[in-house]
Symmetry: C2
Subunit: 322 residues, 2 copies
């Protein structure tokens, strides 16, 4: 327990969160900044750099005192080579050597991993999945990311991309996904899918608290508004959530049959919907998965919120994917 | 290499195959018998016993000389407790303590595992997947079974049922599966699915070589006849195969995105269709899976035929699921 802290970064499509994490996995200081991905790679890297400098200074340290920098980024990541291969939420990011860019810029050893894998590591080591050998972690936000823990270790596959559970086809006749596949879970059960569904229903029916909540500016509807409207008894919003939850449930039946895991953890922004999201999955898994698999699996909410990604990224720097 | 041979058994819905396998994994003698599952559990156990006695005698041994008996059985298997929990292809088998029954009957140490897992172990240790760390093996026959190798070991999950890839929903609006789930891969891409599709097309169109091949007795159509008819240029049969192959391809895109495996191996009776079955999958994985996953995966035919299950079962007895 004598290593200096890691600056852990969660780089998402809308927000950059940085935490100074010591090797006892306490977050000593935090900083946040908008991503503003539209301004291009160089601008985002600038904001990453200043957030890291800020959080390091808040912790009373200089950059050279850090154990390292660990970035959990949205998108397809090549961890070994330190490259953001492609990121749907970071427009224009294709084969960006982010690890080397940050390393050169800050002179600090840098790690890079996928954000959903970081969250899975975080929840497994420090959160809802502590001590569990085999689990699947879903990050349900704008999209759906996944992380698979097998025999207590992050499973990354032949070339680091294992766990793209959001891009499992569950409806072969379903909508085309920007990833190139069809009827992906993410197209049907993510925050993005909920917003699309809400807009379609508003167009068809026109009546919902949602319209008032955004003062008629439908572009401002996000999963958060849908959740709030449902809490206030809005039936259109409730239907949107039920539909997404039922698709998510189908995905979980698949995960139960394929992995026979001890646990499926659901994190990410949409997890704030809580049991309204998970109860349909618990029911459907009992109804449809193999009995031995359904008896074994607990379907639970993540515990660490946004810290899952930060702690997972810090863990990845201190310990690798062990 | 000094252990006596194992009598390895492949217990399927129509056939019992037994092989005497030494610890260098050579098959020294073989015996076969029909399963005749309709006659109930006791009858099947009798036929298992005599096939084992026959193969042991052929090898110049007595039962007491065997290292053990290892049964690869179709259905949901509890390996630890030695129970056939449920087997769709063995009517009436529910919570059958097959391991203890055989052990008591023959006085020989007995192991029990799922047949698709045995085939995966066999192909991984001795066949198409030799030396590969991460792979998924599909047994496509009447149904679709799966076996997952992770870090060189059979992955069995929290309670031994991992790998039920045939019961992954790929069409949420698809046909109900006897397993209780909906739109399962097995309902769309297995031998059973092909026969169902062929009969539906024959009802609608009426013209196919298939009708002649079975002398008008449509109940006799199996995947084998469909394959033969397609080879003779029958367009109905070709369409049936194309449809099943395209669904199988969707399943493989899912496996590539979820597991990022080095290899997907296809064995089982339907694998005799060869590249006619696999080429659509290779194309679709290239088109739709994540590029890094599709670049990593080779989609290949199994090499050991029916011996995969026997060698896998023998391996399970000699080495466990290591």
């Amino acid at each position: 327990m004598n290593r200096p802290p890691v600056a852990a970064i969660d780089l998402g499509g809308t927000k950059i969160a940085v935490g100074l994490v010591n090797d006892g996995y306490r977050v000593l200081a935090r900083a946040e900044s908008p991503t503003i991905a539209d301004e291009g790679v160089a601008g985002v890297v600038e904001r990453l750099v200043s957030a890291v400098e800020q959080v390091t200074a808040s912790g009373g340290l200089a950059l050279k005192d850090l154990y390292g920098l660990s970035v959990a980024a949205a998108g397809a990541i090549d961890s070994e080579r330190g490259i953001v291969t492609l990121s749907p939420n970071l427009p224009g990011w294709r084969d960006i050597h982010l690890r080397d860019m940050l390393n050169e810029r800050l002179g600090v050893k840098t790690w890079l991993l996928n954000d959903a894998k970081a969250a899975a590591l975080g929840e497994h080591r420090f959160g809802a999945g502590k001590g569990v050998s085999n689990l699947v972690h879903l990050t349900v936000g704008t999209g759906i990311g996944g992380g698979i823990i097998i025999d207590g270790r992050l499973y990354t596959g032949a070339s680091g991309s294992a766990g793209e559970i959001g891009h499992m086809t569950i409806d072969v006749n379903g909508p085309r996904c920007p990833c190139g596949n069809t009827g992906c879970l993410e197209m049907l059960a993510s925050g993005k899918a909920m917003v699309r569904d809400a807009l379609a229903r508003l167009n068809a029916e026109g009546k919902s608290l949602l319209t008032e909540m955004v003062n008629g500016d439908l572009d401002r509807i996000t999963a958060r508004e849908i959740g709030l409207a449902a809490e206030h008894g809005d039936s259109l919003a409730s239907d949107v959530i039920s539909r997404a939850a039922s698709y998510l449930a189908v995905g979980m039946v698949n995960l139960a049959n394929i992995f026979n895991p001890e646990m499926i953890i659901v994190g990410g922004g949409i997890a704030n919907l809580g049991d309204r999201l998970l109860d349909p999955a618990r029911r459907l898994v009992k109804e449809r998965a193999f009995p031995v698999a359904s008896a074994a699996v607990r379907i639970v909410l993540a515990r660490l919120g946004n810290d899952a990604g930060l702690l997972g990224a810090a863990y990845f720097a201190f310990e690798g994917d062990k």
